[in-house]
Structures are given as structure tokens and as C-alpha cells.
């Protein structure tokens, strides 16, 4: 039997295939030429050529988030790797499994300031879950297999593998993946403390004002976790709210769903959080966008926190019960226990709690008045939702006001349908991300809800979209401002709009035409719906330039440094001057 020798590059590709990689997003360069040679006419892996390495990572994130698989990236050394850093940090903050292969100068040149050399493992160390510099060709296969386990197990995250060019050219004996499941980060997931589950179940059943608050961990745990979360909500008949990252885990149509919580969450969700007596946090991390001022966060509640990452528990909010484990396993144990106890004693009546919540709902915090012919951005999202809800739709967004409006007014009935940069808040995320989503779901309707400023940050990806004939719909809420910056300047800096106007915008319709795709423009509310219809109907990619009300602000809002019960609902609301502590917050 012949021993199976490959070049390092061939071994890398083989290992990717063995780990289930079908698509890789990348950009070639000197230090990855052997890898690109191995990819040439390879039938197992489809390479998508992006136009910037940051976009490669975002595309892989979109791919990963919409499928639950690991996203794969290939970039060259030096600038290729440094360009990928924003994407890797984004994936780390939002816990997205990514494998990033980067080229490196040959091992004997490392440390000599060679052409296109950068200390890639040094630079990427704090923005990856783990990284490797492969210096020994014999360890190449093992490292790649291990990287996939690290990226996708526990709390997922990006793993970078730096591959010197001589390693890519070396003779390597291919080693298969070992089937045993390795334990990483000392998380022993299968060991759920039964006593703890019993205590928590009892607490939930006895609560008078309970609330469940779910986050991205539920999405990461797989679609079954979302089903379980919805089941638990229905059994307990308690209110549920979701973070930006968790939207879709509980269908927006569920009667117990209060909408998103946090800085731009609904009034009822935030007040229910503030006034609850028992809070169950499933796979969220008490982010500052969610908690508002920490010392006033749900002051009189018992808090339970389920998270796969032990370091998330008691990081910023100290909780009464922390359960370390995968959401679906903990939820399944919890539901089992709740059902068992439920047979013995009845659930506390929540009539009073619900009537209180319904009172808050009457405030209609997402209400807005569409008057005149100008398009309110809220209405644009609402109409987009109404027109697309019966399609197989995936939404990506950039960062800013349009992102919050999308989160508020677009409804998600399933997980993995909503791709947005939550933790890092990366403008320019949405367009490349939609590339990855559309590659994964060629038949689906993929819409990038964008702002004109964010769009400009990665608009080179139009070229990628055209090359691969991806029918992505780019829905730009164009108000000619970096809207969220402008809003904060209005609220906190005396309306001194320093550098937040997006001057010298392109004509988006002509821009579309220059790429050979369709461009649409609408500035009158009466034509909004027909424009959306038209956009959906067009088979190829579309840029829809939606000219919206220029100075609309995003409400409701918890001003920085304020608490959940200090929300402002509209511009007319008496807004106290932001505290000095608040001014320092982002």
C-alpha cells in the first residue's frame, strides 16, 4: 500500500474537505500561492473570491450564522491577514465559528521583516479563540482537525492558522481526523447539576413576575434549542424577550414575546426586566446594551444564568444561580424538571403580571406617525417585512439606526435568519455577510438592510455579488447621515453635528448600473410598496435606494448611563441631560 504523501497545501485542502468544508471565502497573494494551486479545479471546495479580506471573514460569518456550520477563510500574509482582523474580532465578539487560514513567509524568513511579513499570530492572539503558527509540517493535519473542534465546540469562535509558504510546499503524510471527541476549555457539558436544575425549576414555578431573556447562545446551540426555549415559555406562560443576537429564537408571533430588550428595545420588555422577580437568562451575556446602568438593573430579582462559557457567568452581573452548559441540554433538563414539578403543584397565577405588562404595551413604544409623502424609515422596514414574510427570507444588516429599526420592525419566526454585527458593531458587515448567506442558500431571498454610510464601507463587494450572480437585495435606508452618530450628537452634544454628514454620495442607481445590476430609487411613501415588490420580483441583485426622512431618530431609547425604567419614548419626551458618567459611555 502506497503511503499517502501530499504537499502541505494539498493536505490542508484535504483536511478542510474531511471537516465538511464546501465553500471557502478568500483572496490570493504571494504567500498562499501553493494553497491556491491546490484549490485550482478542485471539485470538493468552491472558492469565492471576495474583493477585500475583511469581507471574506464577514461572508464566512454570514455563511456560518445562517447554516450553523463552520465558516472558512483563506487570506495571504501581511496585509491579507491584517485586513482580516476586524472580521475575526467581529466573529469573536459574536461567537461565530470561523477557520481563517493565512499565508506566512517561509519559516526561515520569519522575524526578518520580509516582504508582506506580519506577526499574524501575535496580532490575532487577542481577537481569536485560538491561533496556530505551523512550524512543523508533520503537525499540519492534526492542527487543522483540532482547529475545527476548537472553533465549533463550547462557545464557538474564530481560529486562525498561520501557514508559512515552505510548510505549504513540504511533503506531508496525510493524517485523518481522530474520531474521539476532545474536551476543550475544561467545559464538561454533559454534567448538569440535578439539584441546581431542581432549585431553578422550583423558583421559576413559584415566581409571580418571571421573565425569560434569550440570546445568541440559543442560536448557537442549534434550532432545537430555540424549540425548547419556546416550549419552556409556553409551559410557564411567562413573558420572553430576546437580545439583538437572539432574535428568531422565539417566533415574533408568539403571544408571550415582548420584542427585543435593551437600549432600543421595547418599553414593555425593558420594564418587565426591571420589575421581574425571577429572571432566566438563556445564552445571553448581560451586555451593556442590554443592562443599561448596572446598579439599577432588575434590582429586586433572583437571577438565573445559563451559559456554555463559565466566564460569562458573574462577569458583569452577579447572579443567584449560574448553570454552565449548552443551552439545549440545560433547557431540556429544565423542561423535564418543570413538567415533573408542575404535576405536583400548580404554577403561580400570573394574571396580575400580565395585566401590568399589557398596560406597558399600551404605550405602543414602537408607534410612529407616517405623515406626509416622506418615507419614515420605520415604515420602510415594516413594509419590507409585510412584503417578504411569506418568502424564505434571510436578513443581514450593517450597523446603526437602520440596524435597530430592522431589529424592531422586522419579525423573525426562526433562528439563523438574522445576521447582524452585535458585539463589535462593525459598519460594513451586512453586504459581505449577505454574500455568504446567499452562497449557502442560493434559492432564498437574502436582503441586506443597510444605511448609506455603512454600505460605502464595503461596497467593493458588489463586484463579488455580480461575479457569482448572487441575487442579493440591498435595501439602503438613505438619510444622508451617519444616523446613529447624528442622533447621539443631537442628544448628548447639543446638536453639533461634527463630521456625521455623508457628503458626496454616489448616485446609487447609476452605481448599480455600472456593475450591470438593477438600481431602484423611491422617495415618496406612495411608491414604497411597489418599489419593494419590484425589488423582490427582479431575479438578480438590486440596489434599492430608499430615501427616508433625514432626521428621524431611533426610539425608544435608554440613554447611556440610564436604567431600564428611564427610557425615552420619543423626541418629545423630556430628556434629562445625560449624566457625566453617561457621557463617557459609548
Amino acid at each position: 500500500m502506497a503511503i499517502n504523501y501530499n504537499s502541505g497545501a494539498e493536505a490542508v485542502i484535504k483536511a478542510l474537505v474531511e471537516n465538511g468544508v464546501e465553500v471557502i471565502f478568500g483572496y490570493p497573494g504571494g504567500a498562499v500561492l501553493p494553497l491556491y494551486d491546490a484549490l485550482f479545479e478542485n471539485k470538493n471546495i468552491k472558492h469565492i473570491l471576495v474583493r477585500h479580506e475583511q469581507a471574506a471573514v464577514h461572508a464566512a460569518e454570514g455563511y456560518a450564522r445562517s447554516t450553523g456550520k463552520v465558516g472558512c477563510v483563506l487570506v495571504t500574509s501581511g496585509p491579507g491577514a491584517t485586513n482580516a482582523i476586524t472580521g475575526l474580532t467581529d466573529a469573536l465578539m459574536d461567537s461565530i465559528p470561523i477557520i481563517c487560514l493565512s499565508g506566512q513567509v517561509p519559516t526561515h524568513l520569519i522575524g526578518t521583516d520580509a516582504f508582506q511579513e506580519a506577526d499574524t499570530t501575535g496580532i490575532s492572539r487577542p481577537c481569536t479563540k485560538h491561533n496556530y503558527l505551523v512550524k512543523d509540517a508533520n503537525k499540519l493535519c492534526e492542527i487543522i482537525h483540532k482547529s475545527f473542534v476548537i472553533a465549533s465546540s463550547g462557545r464557538p469562535g474564530p481560529v486562525l492558522i498561520d501557514l508559512p509558504k515552505d510548510i505549504q510546499l513540504a511533503n506531508v503524510k496525510y493524517v485523518n481526523k481522530v474520531s474521539k471527541i476532545e474536551k476543550h476549555n475544561n467545559v464538561n457539558i454533559s454534567n448538569i447539576d440535578k439539584d441546581l436544575i431542581h432549585k431553578v425549576a422550583t423558583l421559576l414555578l413559584q415566581a409571580e413576575r418571571p421573565i425569560i431573556y434569550g440570546g445568541g447562545g440559543v442560536v448557537n446551540s442549534g434550532p432545537y434549542a430555540s424549540k425548547l426555549l419556546t416550549e419552556l415559555v409556553n409551559i410557564l406562560d411567562c413573558p420572553v424577550t430576546l437580545t439583538l443576537m437572539g432574535l428568531g429564537c422565539v417566533p415574533n408571533t408568539n403571544k408571550n414575546f415582548l420584542g427585543m430588550l435593551g437600549m432600543h428595545g421595547t418599553y414593555e420588555a425593558n420594564l418587565a426586566m426591571h420589575n421581574c422577580d425571577v429572571m432566566l437568562n438563556v445564552g445571553a451575556r448581560f451586555d451593556d446594551r442590554v443592562t443599561g446602568r448596572l446598579n439599577a438593573f432588575a434590582p429586586n430579582s433572583k437571577k438565573i444564568h445559563i451559559d456554555v462559557d463559565k466566564s460569562s457567568i458573574n462577569k458583569v452581573v452577579s447572579v443567584d444561580y449560574g448553570i454552565v452548559g449548552d443551552c439545549k441540554e440545560v433547557l431540556s433538563a429544565l423542561i423535564h424538571e418543570v413538567k415533573k414539578l408542575h404535576n405536583q403543584k400548580s404554577i403561580k397565577s400570573k394574571t396580575k403580571w400580565w395585566s401590568q405588562i399589557n398596560q406597558w404595551k399600551e404605550k405602543d413604544s414602537l408607534g410612529f406617525k407616517q405623515i406626509g409623502n416622506n418615507i419614515k424609515p420605520q415604515q420602510a422596514i415594516k413594509s419590507l417585512y409585510e412584503k417578504t414574510k411569506n418568502f424564505d427570507t434571510y436578513i443581514t444588516t450593517e450597523v446603526g439606526q437602520h440596524q435597530m429599526w430592522a431589529a424592531q420592525y422586522f419579525g423573525f419566526s426562526k433562528p439563523n435568519r438574522w445576521m447582524t454585527s452585535g458585539g463589535l458593531g462593525t459598519m460594513g458587515y451586512g453586504l459581505p455577510s449577505s454574500v455568504g448567506v446567499q452562497i449557502a442558500h442560493p434559492k432564498s431571498l437574502v436582503i441586506d438592510i443597510s444605511g448609506e454610510a455603512s454600505f460605502l464601507m464595503n461596497m467593493q463587494e458588489l463586484s463579488t455579488i455580480v461575479q457569482y450572480k448572487l441575487p442579493v437585495k440591498i435595501f439602503i435606508l438613505n438619510n444622508e447621515w451617519m444616523g446613529m452618530v447624528r442622533q447621539w450628537q443631537e442628544l448628548n452634544h447639543g446638536s453639533r453635528y461634527s463630521e456625521s454628514y455623508t457628503a458626496s454620495l454616489p448616485d446609487f442607481v447609476k452605481l448599480a448600473e455600472s456593475f450591470g445590476i438593477e438600481g431602484l430609487r423611491v422617495d415618496n411613501i406612495n411608491n414604497l410598496e411597489t418599489t419593494i415588490d419590484q425589488m423582490i420580483k427582479i431575479k438578480g441583485p438590486v440596489i434599492a435606494d430608499i430615501r427616508v426622512e433625514k432626521e428621524e431618530n431611533c426610539f425608544p431609547m435608554i440613554p447611556s448611563g440610564a436604567a431600564h425604567n428611564e427610557m425615552i419614548l420619543s423626541s418629545d419626551d423630556n430628556h434629562n441631560d445625560t449624566s457625566n458618567e453617561g457621557l463617557a459611555l459609548v
Binding site: 487577542p126 485560538h130 503558527l133 475544561n186 446598579n295 466566564s311
Partner: protein
């Protein structure tokens, strides 16, 4: 505001000695140190050397300071680092031994030479090097003992100090053998 005060009361910071078992490979120490600087934790002392050649493992002894919530955070964050296998909180576990080595060069002439030797003898320091105008002493023991010795030496003349940082181990007959076998 009174009902909201509970989180604002800052808990007392205490010193903790942690003992880590990590893979002896390039970058591991950088990950540990990067975690402390990136997240704003303190390092008061840090030592690291290989302890198991067969398994390629090193021990990091680390002294840090913080509230109990911060210390818990540090321990959980350390465990997220892939090549970190074991994190032990020796301060929490019970009694442990903390030891450090110092090399002290003292430039001294005249009557103070006798005084220096007398102090060194009292502290059971070894004399490693002698010239007509200097000594080099080696001293091991608790950091506080080393502090006291160095203070005395400084008052006797010009000094140059090199200290290893704290190395620590728990007292009693328990070992880590079982834990190490699971790695």
C-alpha cells in the same frame, strides 16, 4: 438610589496565588499575560518554567490581586485559553508554601562589610561572590523575608537586585498526578 447601592459597595481586594498547568509551547505565556493586560487585571508576580518534559507541560505561578468576583473572572478567563489545562487557586485551597529566590549585589567598603556579612548570616543567605568592594548574596524564602533582607542591604551600600518571583505549592500529601493524567 438607596435600593440600588448594593453593587456600588466595592468589596475588599485580596492577594491570591494561582498555580497553572499549561502546554510548554510558543505563545502560551503571551496569551496569559495578554489576558491580564487586555482585561485590566493585576499581576504582582509571575514565574514560569517547564515541569514535565515528557508531557511538555509548564507551571505558571502567579500572584494577583482583586475582589472575589474579579478573581473568579480571572480563573474562568484563564480556563478559556486553549493551552491552559489546570487553574488552581492555592489561596482558596488552603495552606500552601510560597518561596522566592533573590540575588543581591552589594557594593560596600570598610566597617559595613562586617555588618553586611552579619546580616547575611542572620538571614541564612549564601555568599556567592566576593571582591574587596562587593558581595553577591543568594537568599531564598518568603517574599516578605526577601523584602526585609533587601531593605537592610540597601542601607549598607549601593545594591543591584535580581528576584525570581514567587513559586508556590500546596502543603500536605495531595498531588496533581491524577489531574495531569487527564490532560
Amino acid at each position: 438610589m438607596s435600593v440600588y447601592q448594593k453593587n456600588e459597595v466595592e468589596e475588599v481586594e485580596t492577594s491570591r496565588t494561582l498555580s497553572l498547568i499549561v502546554d510548554n509551547q510558543p505563545g502560551t505565556l503571551a496569551r496569559v499575560i495578554g489576558l491580564f493586560s487586555g482585561r485590566g487585571y493585576n499581576i504582582e508576580s509571575l514565574t514560569v518554567t517547564e515541569i514535565d518534559k515528557m508531557r511538555n507541560l509548564s507551571r505558571i505561578s502567579l500572584v494577583t490581586r482583586g475582589t472575589s468576583m474579579t478573581i473568579e473572572q480571572i480563573k474562568s478567563q484563564l480556563l478559556r485559553i486553549v493551552p491552559v489545562h489546570i487553574v488552581r487557586d492555592l489561596t482558596l485551597e488552603g495552606q500552601f508554601i510560597k518561596s522566592e529566590l533573590a540575588l543581591v549585589k552589594l557594593v560596600v567598603k570598610g566597617a559595613n562589610r562586617v555588618e553586611a556579612l552579619r546580616v547575611a548570616e542572620t538571614f541564612r543567605a549564601r555568599t556567592l561572590d566576593v571582591t574587596l568592594s562587593s558581595f553577591i548574596f543568594e537568599l531564598t524564602g518568603k517574599p516578605s523575608k526577601l523584602d526585609a533582607f533587601i531593605d537592610l542591604m540597601r542601607s549598607l551600600g549601593d545594591t543591584e537586585i535580581s528576584r525570581t518571583g514567587v513559586s508556590a505549592i500546596s502543603r500536605g500529601n495531595k498531588t496533581e498526578t491524577k489531574l495531569l493524567d487527564q490532560i
